[in-house]
Amino acid sequence: MADRFPDYDVLAKRDSLSWNDKTRAVVDARIATSEPDVLSEPERAVLRRLVDRIVPQPEGRAPVNAAALLLEKIAADRGDGYRHARLPKVREAWERGLAAIDTEARERHGTGFAALDNRQADSVIQAIQQGDVCAAQWEAIPADLFWSYRILPDIVSAYYAHPSAWSAMGFGGPASPRGYVRLETNRRDSWEAAERAPDAVVPASERNRHVR
């Protein structure tokens, strides 16, 4: 699908009043995050492939280091404040789950998950989503819980923590000290994204280039 918010970049506002120092510091650090030394390389390859399929990145947008951000969480074994009684902690859950995914791929398609083509990879993911799995490893980690407590929330939380993902959805991004003035329907502050519209007098891309 064509980019709804052509040339809109939340980061263009980085040095404006929409960002305070704290925000600049944490987002800068996030963008610069690279994969920490956690999990085995084959496990990481499965995780990267999984992230690619759960949140396929739009063309023409800056890449999101979602896998690195997720690995950082796994390395820190950082929970969310609750754990389902039938699940182990974050890191162990991912270790078991990635192993199960890889085996599931081998049993279904004769090759590891990281090497599957998009269609095959998606069929494995659908199987997990529907609880229709056959690999024995799932006994160590219930597929439905791994799906709903780890795969989905962990991956989308990593992906939508990145300014590039904010830009693609036309989100205003950080907003402090400057917030917003025009709250009403169909109103946009000049520091917000403009959406592509066929009848626009000024093209959205032109407006978006002036967002500061």
Binding site: M1, R4, F5, W19, N20, D21, K22, T23, A25, V26, V27, A29, R30, R53, I54, V55, P56, R78, G79, D80, G81, Y82, R83, H84, A85, R86, D122, I125, Q129, L152, P153, V156, S157, Y159, Y160, A161, A165, W166, A168, M169, G170, F171, G172, G173, P174, A175, S176, P177, R178, G179, Y180, V181, L183, E184, T185, N186, R187, R188, A193, E195
Partner: protein, 547 residues
């Protein structure tokens, strides 16, 4: 999370952070551990923080402890969902039962100021009849406090928090003028209003605890929309910026990063609390102990404090500590509209409909609910779409890109007390060596009937405004209440109307745990009203020598 206040506690050495000034400090009275203070309060949220202020202003010596850090919002808060996870209680808790509850960001704060640092500021009064559901409406259990008294305390809290609300409120008995005027409605709120008008029910601007005009050193709201992850402008009247500065001025001491692990008792009375701070355990002596840790940590502490005198935990002769955990139903209806809505602007819930709190006819279930307009932030919305609708891959990315055209209505619905929904202890321990809680929850048939009615009604409201591609989010819950309920009878409740334990006369519980029922409104205003009442009662009892 980059900033875990790694330099240790801030409120030490006779000073506490000035929340209104970057890098600033305010003087704070300090107490030695060996000094027997009048009150030690565990938790500084809506219950504990409010009570600390009111008790200090009444002249009692008060030490209030919080396991979380003492933030200065102006310099510590980012406009960033991930970073602001630091506001949540993310220590491990086990969830189970038929419908395990999402904790963490969903309902649990770990900061000085408690969950009010990240609450959505909705400040509604409970309907009068909801304080006596058993005798007036035939379900649940009655509160030991009458509604008129609670409504008087609501007025006090609304004044203290400078609640911005509508000039006329459409439901319930006449109430006084809100101290500040309602905020402008954003597009999302307008969709609620239009839908309500189409369906023939009243609506109004949500009374919210964020300033619509300057107040003291606090700025008015700038409509940045990050309310639920902490307000970086101090417009939000959290306990951190409202009651606690007053508490400090009145001589209360607040100890941040102080985790209370056990309450000590001797001869049936509390003598103080064991707390962990700066790497070691301390013991603060106190004449009275108030537990205000919210509906998980409160029963956890009472149960973890079991000793030879009280082998089943403190205040637990009824066996009800940890029982009757009540969340609130938080189901939603969502849809798409042609209009550019951009619900990320402004407080998330600027319009409310309380029709179904006040209308009992036409329901095949007991209880009330309200619903409000919504404005989820990206991560929260992505998790909703992924978890609630099963979207992933290109479908998720595409749907996220339509976020500016999404409108939603979300309910806050009354869950009935059920002793099977409860908090217990596991054998697993946390970083302090304390047993962690297990939270067991299942919806009842009544809950499901309410959900069905509410999601159907909200969906029709969206339909009436022309929304398409509508869907219902059926999984979410909000808020926590009821694990140390108050009542008239020591056999069926944990504390009395004054929040005083039936079993231990100098042990009090003052937070959402004491709710016998929850009604269909967000609980923060009610918790603060209870705290104000409790403080008044304590002052009266102290004057009469009844403490």
């Amino acid at each position: 999370m980059s900033d875990k206040q790694s330099d240790g506690p801030r409120a030490t050495g006779g000073r506490a952070p000035d929340v209104f000034t970057p890098g600033g400090w305010v003087p704070m009275r300090s107490h030695e551990d060996s000094e027997e203070v009048d009150f030690v309060i565990v938790g500084t949220g809506a219950g504990g923080g409010t009570l600390a202020c009111k008790l200090a202003e009444s002249g009692f010596s008060v030490v209030a402890m919080d396991a979380g850090p003492y933030w200065r919002p102006l310099e510590d808060f980012a406009s960033d969902e991930t970073e602001q996870q630091k506001l949540y209680w993310t220590d491990e808790r086990i969830v189970d039962g038929e419908n395990p509850i999402a904790m963490g960001s969903n309902n649990s704060g770990k900061s000085v100021g408690g969950s009010t640092v990240h609450f959505a500021m909705v400040s509604l009064r409970m309907r009068p009849e909801h304080f006596a559901t058993r005798s007036k409406l035939g379900y649940g259990v009655d509160w030991p406090i009458g509604w008129e008294e609670m409504w008087r305390y609501y007025a006090e809290v609304e004044q203290a928090l400078k609640i911005a609300g509508p000039v006329r409120y459409p439901w319930g008995p006449k109430r006084g003028r809100y101290p500040m005027r309602a905020h402008p409605m954003n597009a999302a709120a307008n969709y609620l209003a239009r839908g309500a008008e189409a369906l023939g029910v009243d609506w109004t601007q949500t009374p919210v605890a964020t300033l619509s005009a300057p107040h003291g050193k606090a700025h008015p709201c700038v409509y940045r929309g990050f309310c639920a992850i902490g307000c970086s402008t101090n417009a939000k009247q959290s306990v951190l910026v409202s009651w606690l500065p007053r508490a400090l001025k009145a001589g209360a001491e607040i100890r941040d990063l102080a985790m209370v692990g056990r309450i000590e008792t001797v001869n049936g009375r509390c003598t103080g609390v064991h707390y962990h701070r700066e790497g070691e355990w301390h013991f603060q002596r106190a004449r009275n102990v108030v537990v205000a840790g919210y509906a998980i940590e409160t029963p956890r502490l009472l149960l973890n404090s079991a000793n030879a005198e009280f082998p089943d935990g403190l205040a637990n002769s009824s066996g009800l500590v940890g029982r009757n955990l009540m969340v609130q139903l938080n189901q939603a209806a969502w849809g798409h509209v042609e209009d550019d809505v951009r619900s990320y602007k402004g407080p998330p819930s600027l319009a409310v409909c309380e029709h179904w709190n006040y209308e009992d006819r036409g329901k095949d279930y007991a209880g009330g609910w309200s619903y409000m307009s919504q404005g989820p932030l990206p991560i929260s919305w992505a998790k909703t779409l992924a978890g609630g609708r099963g979207l992933w891959g290109q479908a998720l990315i595409d749907e996220m890109a339509r976020n500016n055209h999404t409108v939603g209505l979300k309910m806050v619905g009354e869950v009935l007390p059920d002793a099977r929904n409860r908090v217990t202890l596991t054998d697993e321990t946390d970083q302090y060596g304390l047993r962690i809680p297990r939270i067991t929850f299942a919806y009842s048939d009544n809950d499901r009937a309410m959900m069905a009615h509410a999601t159907d009604f909200m969906d029709r409201s969206l339909e009436a405004t022309g929304a398409t591609d509508r869907w219902k989010e059926m999984g979410d819950t909000a808020h926590l209440n009821g694990t140390a309920r108050m009542g008239h009878d020591r056999r069926t409740s944990v504390v009395d109307a004054d929040c005083r334990s039936w079993d231990i006369p100098n042990l009090w519980v003052c937070d959402g745990s004491v709710f016998p029922t929850v009604g269909g409104v967000n609980p923060s205003l009610t918790i603060q009203a209870i705290a104000c009442r409790t403080a008044d009662r304590i002052r009266t009892m102290a004057a009469q020598g009844e403490l």
